[in-house]
Symmetry: C2
Subunit: 191 residues, 2 copies
Amino acid sequence: MKNRVITISREFGSGGRTIGKLTAEALGIPCYDQETITQLMAENGFSEEYVQEYGEYYTQGWINSFLGRTNGPTKQDQLWMFQRKTVIELAEKGPCVFVGRCADYILRDTADCLTTFIHADMDKRAERIVRVYGEQDILPKERLSMKDKRRAAYYQYYTDMRWGDVRNYHVAMDSGVLGIERCAEMLAKLF
Amino acid sequence: MKNRVITISREFGSGGRTIGKLTAEALGIPCYDQETITQLMAENGFSEEYVQEYGEYYTQGWINSFLGRTNGPTKQDQLWMFQRKTVIELAEKGPCVFVGRCADYILRDTADCLTTFIHADMDKRAERIVRVYGEQDILPKERLSMKDKRRAAYYQYYTDMRWGDVRNYHVAMDSGVLGIERCAEMLAKLF
């Protein structure tokens, strides 16, 4: 019998992580997000900074990436393999929520997944990241655009599927219009 | 005060029309689908067959389509304009559900829309269209593929937006996995 799992893919700043936490709380099951995974990867010898920078964002510059692979897997590939193993092991423990980390793809054959995608329009996300993470040197919209592009590239590279393609998800929701709490309610209800 | 409307875009065979009807029933509001619109267009002088064939499916063959426009709007353009006007007028009457007809785009400025997209995988849709519409000379999967392509082309041509792009919809659901009844329940709840 496969464990039931909710996977949440999300645009940067859409509140996907908060939706994951609220959903997991409502269901009384654990939520594994960037923080949890980073900690587990740190126990496997990866620095926290490296995991945060490369754990679901593709390395910038295709030349680096290409040349890096002529002698076998890159450091990012090794991180991917560790993360993949960790996601599978966590899902084997029992029902849970995963935020990001391509969990929808990784668990497609080993768990009974409800795959979801959370998005919101640029203005709402820009307002939110400044409120949640504070101002940075780079403009909010540029930051969002860069983060989304690198997440999409990472997903595409390791899964060979298109990130954000409506057909890859059982449910997709606009958190900017529906609201973060309501998205979490719907997911808990659908689970 | 804008009227509240649910718009349902859907892949052929995903049960979007049934979801629209069930949602409208649950909310006690009218549902306008292909049948209703075809009837209203027939009253404006378009044959039922023409509306069913070209009311939301793009004309095949770009040469016909291009040459047809050298002397002004084609017959399909005229149908689009009539349908557009009809959708706006119906939405002005009160809260309702629209299935197809690019209602999400048409009503974006005049109604308070919950825009949705219903999809399902090819196997489930193929099984469903044979069960609901019966066998035809053309294989179910070819029929689906052709219908989807023509719907996408129609939507793209008249709205300049990409049909099925997750970011264009407040909610997208896989009816093959979630089930038609549950999709309708979620929409009624979100409304």
